[in-house]
């Protein structure tokens, strides 16, 4: 894994246009697909799908067409301290999620509760992402203070 640095360079103008076109196409495709899954309320579902897809699609467009010109990889980025911080944060978050799963499973088993799997799985995804992010910030702060 290498670390990337932003530069002050800019990509050619038509690359930004291509990025926007790709983002628009992806957003429209996703919104139509989401809308098609809910034909009773097509426009509402499609709007929500578009809202959710727009930012990732723009990021993908920037990654494909723009970032090659504006971001450079550090020559020895994998030797940087950030990689150690990321590993520490990831390992800690993994253990946190494991503990939460064990405790939640015990509560559900003992209480004989039944819950939908989808919100639980989405919650675990959110927990792992937020946990890893917060741990990274904490590790970084501790190392640099």
């Amino acid at each position: 894994m290498s670390k990337a640095s932003f530069t002050s360079r800019r990509a050619p103008a038509h690359h930004y246009v291509l990025a926007i076109i790709l983002a628009a196409i992806l957003t429209i495709v996703v919104s139509v697909l989401v809308g098609a899954t809910n034909p009773n309320d097509f426009w509402l579902a499609a709007s929500i799908g578009a809202l959710c897809a727009a930012y990732p699609a723009m990021s993908l467009g920037a990654k494909v067409f723009v970032s090659n010109h504006t971001v450079t990889l550090d020559a020895h980025g994998e030797q940087s301290v950030e990689l150690q911080w990321m590993r520490q944060a990831g390992a800690g978050a993994f253990l946190d999620v494991l503990v939460v799963i064990v405790v939640a499973s015990l509560v559900l088993a003992i209480g004989r509760l039944e819950v939908d799997a989808l919100p639980i799985l989405l919650g675990l995804v959110a927990l792992s992402a937020v946990d890893a992010g917060l741990r990274y910030v904490a590790v970084r702060h501790r190392a640099l203070k």
Partner: protein
């Protein structure tokens, strides 16, 4: 590991960013090494030593 990286860097009037750019790592990496909160990998230690035209043990010493 203890190190005298900060003194050697100051001796050349380099900023932490200058040294980071010279060895191809982030500035935070240099800060962490100078504060002895991060032990560099062997390749990075060699790279730093080569940058200062000296041996690794001239910069890094085990505690």
């Amino acid at each position: 590991m203890k190190n005298n990286l900060a003194e050697r860097r100051s001796g050349r009037s380099w900023t932490q960013a200058d040294l980071a750019a010279a060895v191809g790592v982030s500035r935070q990496t240099i800060i962490s090494i100078e504060r002895e909160k991060f032990d560099p990998s062997l390749p990075l230690a060699f790279l730093i030593a080569r940058t200062f035209d000296c041996a690794i043990e001239d910069i890094f010493t085990p505690e």
